[in-house]
């Protein structure tokens, strides 16, 4: 074998193993949903016939419509508010530059490194004092001002043509109208990419909802699979069906909108 073909042999080998290991747990999840719990913890990796029983059992243990509603409601409301607040801020920082605001923007960069663990104790006391424990607002409110998304919109706004703003001003539009009627439609794909990333972030949120949402009827999908799987003797067949339901929305979004997905991911951190 020549040096070059050896190299490409190694290359295909490494990539194939990596791809296989990356995809296998997804296969395991789907196979697991068709097996009994006993089969799953014995490592059975072939399809079984227990799918329907698992679905019935999951439905008996969990108020699925309610839990799915909680997840979607929190994720959708958070995403809309985040996009409005963060895009306005990104727009404001980029279009109306001033020394004071540039300094503030530099301050945001420092705040990126504040770990959530350092916020959760005072946040919990704050929401407990306000009587908002176990409510949707307690989950949504702290998630809205997302610094990454502000950065993403500021970066994207650099490509927004100034002539459009000038023309709109001559037409007599007020600043907020320019933002809503000119900026928003022009930046559609930026918004679309950000929607995907922010929705996913909120859909998958775990630690803060774990602290705040305390009753079963308020729990999200993520909290539900976590408590199902941490039972003393978890029914893994049921857990796998629930895990599929939790993973499916983000998986579907990814496959339908792969290009926007990657654009949003890369853009928010440039």
């Amino acid at each position: 074998m020549t040096n070059r073909s050896l190299l490409s042999f190694v290359q295909y080998g490494v990539l194939s193993v990596a791809a296989f290991l990356s995809v296998f747990p997804f296969f395991w999840m789907v196979v697991g949903a068709t097996n009994t719990s006993a089969d799953i913890i014995k490592g059975k990796a072939t399809f079984g016939s227990n799918l329907w029983t698992n679905i019935v059992n999951l439905n008996a243990q969990v108020d699925l419509p309610r839990v799915l509603f909680n997840s979607f409601y929190i994720a959708i409301i958070s995403t809309i508010l985040t996009l409005v607040v963060a895009s306005a801020a990104g727009y404001g920082f980029e279009i109306f530059r001033s020394k004071a605001r540039e300094r503030l923007f530099g301050g945001l960069l420092l705040m990126l490194s504040i770990p959530f663990a350092a916020l959760m104790v005072p946040l919990f006391i704050m929401f407990a004092n306000a009587g908002l424990i176990n409510t949707y607002s307690a989950i949504i409110a702290p998630s809205v001002a997302n610094i990454f998304v502000i950065f993403y919109f500021r970066q994207a706004t650099k490509a927004f043509p100034h002539e459009l703003r000038d023309a709109a001003k001559i037409d007599g539009l007020k600043e907020y109208q320019i933002f809503a009627r000119v900026y928003f439609p022009v930046m559609r794909s930026t918004y679309a990419a950000a929607t995907i990333i922010v929705f996913m972030l909120n859909w998958n949120n775990y630690l803060w909802p774990l602290i705040v949402l305390q009753t079963n009827e308020m729990k999200t999908m993520v909290l539900t699979i976590s408590s199902l799987a941490s039972a003393y003797t978890p029914d893994f067949g049921v857990v796998m069906v629930a895990t599929i339901l939790t993973t499916l929305p983000t998986l579907i979004i990814f496959f339908l909108l792969q290009r926007l997905f990657v654009q949003g991911m890369l853009g928010s951190v440039k």
């Binding site: 747990p25 799953i40 490592g43 959530f116 919990f124």
Partner: protein, 293 residues
């Protein structure tokens, strides 16, 4: 971009656009982080707190569980982040070679773990690594182990499971950043290197790595911050066990606040350990990767 000075109205508009975000950040970030600093000097249980000076910091040094959680967190960081960054770089370089076939397929497959929720994949790993589970069955079938490994019951192997899981979830994610950066490198540099007869591995270390330095620095810092806050995986795979062998700092703060009789002041002190670690490590990484001129 050169810009004329802003008029008075425009300056007011500037503040108006950023105001909602700034107010929210003030309430949900600045205020809590300052409060938590103040709290770290308070002692007491529940809401009955009194000024304790440095007593919480002294308590840190005498608390074996804290020392263990700190050690575990730093172990995860020191082992997992370099392995993952290295693998992500190698995959990215391989995927970037022009003659590769099935590139899109490989890229999508390796990136796919980054689409899962942290809790969902943690549960999958928990079931894969159970005592009689799939991983052990495979090891026995392949003749690599006689009776399988006690993954969840052994402090060493439990750490391996956590490290494997995090690496699975984040390697493809980091790889995408490197792939994007690689596409911006001028191809003629590699051509010149090839004409000069520079071997592939030397091209990797002398051209690719230096060109990618900013993005490597960025991903390393983000991974460091993420690993220092590790919670979802340990909570759902091992619950910090066995005997606190995988307990992380975030999990300890959670336990101090929400599982045991709440000890807010001490929990705030532990959380500031993470703040300080993030600050120090980010600074060190910037310093190491600075341009020496």
């Amino acid at each position: 971009m050169a810009q004329t000075r802003l008029g008075r109205n425009e300056n007011i508009s500037g503040w108006a656009f950023i105001a909602p975000a700034m107010v929210l950040l003030g309430i949900f970030m600045i205020w809590p982080i300052l409060w938590s600093l103040w709290m770290s000097f308070q002692t007491g249980r529940g809401m009955n707190m009194s000024f304790g000076g440095l007593s919480n910091i002294i308590r840190l040094t005498e608390d074996p569980i804290f020392v263990k959680a700190l050690g575990n967190t730093l172990t995860f960081l020191a082992i997992q982040v370099p392995i993952m960054i290295m693998m992500a770089l190698i995959f990215a370089v391989m995927l970037n070679s022009p003659r590769l076939r099935f590139r899109g397929l490989f890229r999508t497959a390796i990136f796919l773990p980054a689409v899962t929720s942290l809790v969902a994949y943690s549960i999958l790993f928990k079931s894969l690594f159970s005592t009689d589970g799939f991983v052990n069955a495979s090891l026995i079938a392949l003749g690599l182990s006689e009776r399988g490994v006690n993954w969840m019951g052994d402090p060493f192997y439990a750490k391996i499971v956590i490290i494997t899981a995090i690496t699975w979830r984040w390697t493809g994610y980091n790889m995408i950043f490197y792939l994007a950066a690689l596409q911006n490198i001028d191809k003629s540099i590699y051509e010149a290197a090839r004409i000069d007869g520079i071997p592939a591995h030397a091209q990797f270390f002398k051209i690719t790595v230096p060109m990618l330095k900013p993005v490597i620095l960025f991903t390393t810092i983000m991974s460091t911050i993420g690993t220092l806050q590790l919670f979802d995986e340990v909570q759902n795979i091992t619950l910090g066990g066995p005997a606190n062998a995988t307990l992380t700092l975030s999990q300890y703060i959670y336990n101090l606040t929400f599982r045991f009789m709440p000890s807010f002041g001490y929990a705030a002190t532990v959380s500031y350990v993470i703040v300080v670690l993030v600050a120090i490590l980010s600074f060190v990484q910037f310093y190491v990767a600075r341009d020496r001129k």
